[in-house]
Amino acid sequence: MGIALNTLLILLTALAIPGVINRTRALLAGRKGIPFVQHLRNVNLLLHKGSVYSTTTTALFRIAPAIYIGAAIVATLFIPVADLNPLISFEGDMVCFAYTLALARTILILAAMDTGSSFEGMGAAREALYGALIEPALMIAFATLAMFCGYTSFADIFAQEQSFNLNLTIVMFLVAYLFIRITFVESGRVPVDDPRTHLELTMIHEVMCLDYSGIDMALIHIAGWLKSACFAMIAANAVAATFCFHWWFATPFAILLTGITIGVVESTQARNKLVRNTTFIVTISALAALIFFLGYLLQLDINI
């Protein structure tokens, strides 16, 4: 029962975040904006369409979306929603989670190179670089959680509400902040990438999907939402663990925290110059290392 609810809630989070982002943007731009469920309608439309394939592509290109969304779904199943239990859980599943997502990224990069288009090759090169740079941040963030809680499985880390503890609160809030920043990179939002642009030369994620259409495109969109939901939920869990560890708090919190943050940033800030992205992402890794050491010191109960 708990597991089914857990899966449903994370799915709900995945479907709701893009809607919150769009509504936030519309509100801040002073526009009426698109309806909350417009992204679902768009994907529904795509799901009802067939795909067109370029003659230069091979079978790899055709199976890539299936593997991509498959990996994203598996990754999602590792994530608990506060006090609920995820479907899959074992010792060290956080590492498995990270590399399932890496598999998703790899297959999309290979598919993009398969088209032979110079645009997509460019996008693939960028995605590979940023993927490699964000990996340390992700692993160090997980390590911080593991070190502080003493477990290497999401389900165990977020198993019960901790009694109030200032040290824990500090670390958990910092980890939540870290995951929000990672979300910007992983889901290709401003300031790293711009999902709305039509300029192929500046794209990262979008340019890798230029040759996809119809149902394949829909699967890639959904997989992207699932990825964002995973990180949003980890961030929400980290905050919830400190004072209100219930699924009815963590779910709306994950949706609003990520949706509004991304919406506000996308409304008020310009995108990075591409070369500055490297700095942006390495900074996240540096921040992760800093939080790790802070967590380590706090665990030793050093007074600060």
């Binding site: 943007r25 300031p191 039509h198 030369l201 008020t268 310009a270 995108r271 990075n272 591409l274 070369v275």
Partner: protein, 503 residues
């Protein structure tokens, strides 16, 4: 060297008075003369004259505010190679390429002898746009990225070939000609003046008022009739409104390209307000139908004057808030500053004109150097200049020129008293065997129309020059050494016209 010297306010030039010189003399003179920054060539073209090919060159001397005209001729099928001026002054490349493409005139040691726009009446029909000779560089670590000719979004066609080393652009070559409609030929294939006016309005959709004004001025010069004062004011108001609308639109477009939503939505709204003002005046948002030779169908009334003044003030006020926002946003500054730089020396060398030139501190502004209309007497125009020549400088030129244009419109309309303006005259006789040169500063830069009449007083040659013709090369220079992902904002910061180039 013997030149016919005139200025932008004088009437048509009788063809007989334009001196015909030897090419060698012209070459020697231009070799030295064009070294001055204040001198540049407004137009240089060849046109059949009986059984000869006659070349006209129109030189602008900004410091003396004068226009110098000279000509030379050669036999139609002469195959003597002329020494190339491009080799000395790269700014001449567009003109020599056009002449060479149309009439097979050979220019000796011409460094970049490539087709310009693949005119339908080009001499060598085997040279087609599909086999454009792109420049290539060999290298293990280099790769080519081809963009276009069909682009994402609703822009015109044009092929861009980048040679990149990783993310960095080593070289960009721009192949144009896809939009060629034979507009110059259309002008002479009809004697219907209204039809010609409509053609002028459609040379470049974003400069409809500018090109129509240039055409109307050329016609008025050819018939020796000065436009009444109020008509001159109305045209200047139309021109400045067009400048405001396009500058605001480009501010919005630059914001869109760096994903800055606030700037985008604010500018889109203001641009709509500006073009709606034009629409409320003349019925068309782009000012089509506003400018007609020797008169106007849409004279300003007292109510319209009030409406324009009110809207323009409102737009200027709200736009200045957007500008403040942009200038105080570090994320935007880090995108725009030191990106796509074209230094002043390079601007002069390649002959860039208009706001792109002023962004690098170059003095290229027809309103100041060759004043016309209200700029000749009522307004003393101070050119706005920036110095860095980067995307930010081009954006700041736009921001400041919007405010300046708004103040000019206010100044012109505050003193405006509506009087009867004649209806356009489409049947007026033109002086035979004369040349009219009409120069003005469109929002993008220098627009030059040249009309030549034959012995019957019909237009026998009509040459159009949109500033895009020169500035496309500036864009290619701007992206050298930049990341390829910054190409879109460099491109938007120039916002050049494909059809203005292709004609």
């Amino acid at each position: 060297m013997d030149y016919y010297i005139t200025d932008n306010l004088s009437g048509a030039i009788p063809l007989k008075e334009i001196p015909e010189v030897e090419y060698a003399a012209l070459y020697d003179d231009l070799k030295e003369r064009l070294k001055q920054d204040s001198v540049h060539v407004a137009h240089y073209f060849a046109t059949p004259d009986g059984n000869r090919l006659r070349f006209y060159i129109i030189i602008l001397d900004d410091s003396k505010h004068s226009i110098l005209v000279a000509s030379y001729a050669m036999e139609y099928y002469d195959d003597v190679a002329l020494p190339s001026l491009t080799a000395l002054h790269p700014a001449m490349h567009v003109f020599e390429r056009e002449i060479s493409e149309l009439y097979n005139v050979e220019f000796d040691s011409m460094p970049w002898n490539k087709p310009l726009r693949f005119s339908f009446d080009r001499r060598n029909r085997n040279s087609t746009i599909d086999n454009y000779p792109f420049y290539t560089i060999e290298g293990e670590s280099l790769h080519e990225v081809n963009v276009g000719p069909i682009h994402a979004g609703i822009i015109e066609p044009g092929a861009f070939r980048f040679i990149c080393n990783g993310e960095n652009v080593l070289h960009l070559e721009i192949a144009l000609g896809y939009q060629h409609r034979g507009i110059e030929h259309e002008f002479i294939s009809t004697n219907n003046r209204l039809r010609q006016t409509l053609l002028a309005e459609s040379i470049a959709g974003d400069s409809a008022v500018s090109h129509a004004t240039a055409f109307a001025t050329a016609i008025e010069k050819l018939c020796g009739k000065n436009a009444p004062d109020n008509l001159v004011i109305e045209r200047c108001v139309g021109l400045e409104l067009e400048r405001m609308a396009m500058h605001i639109a480009d501010t919005g477009a630059l914001s869109t390209d760096v994903a800055y939503q606030l700037g985008q939505v604010a500018c889109e709204a203001l641009r709509t307000m500006t073009i709606n003002t034009t629409q409320a005046w003349c019925g068309n948002r782009f000012g089509k139908g506003l400018i007609r030779p020797c008169g106007s169908n849409k004279p300003l009334t007292a109510e319209k004057v009030e409406m324009i003044r009110k809207n323009v003030n409102e737009i200027a006020r709200r736009y200045s808030e957007v500008v403040d926002d942009i200038c105080s946003s570090p994320t935007l500054l880090s995108r725009f500053e030191q990106c796509g730089t074209v230094p002043r020396t390079e601007i002069y060398r390649i002959g860039a004109v208009g706001m792109a030139a002023r962004a690098a501190g170059a003095k290229r502004d027809i309103r100041a150097s060759h004043p016309y209309g209200c700029f000749a007497d009522k307004i003393s125009h101070q050119s706005i200049k920036e110095h860095t020549g980067d995307v930010m400088a081009r954006l700041m030129i736009r921001c400041r020129e919007v405010a300046q244009s708004a103040s000019y419109i206010e100044q012109m309309l505050a003193a405006y008293h509506p009087t009867a303006i004649p209806q356009p005259d489409y049947d007026i006789k033109l002086n035979p065997e004369a040349m009219a040169i009409s120069l003005l500063e469109g929002w993008r830069g220098e627009i030059c129309h040249v009309a030549i009449t034959n012995i019957d007083g019909e237009i026998s040659t009509y040459k159009v020059k949109d500033p895009s013709l020169h500035n496309w090369l500036a864009l290619a220079i701007a992206v050298r050494g930049e990341g390829i992902s910054d190409f879109p904002i460099c491109n938007k910061s120039f916002n050049l016209s494909y059809c203005g180039h292709d004609l």
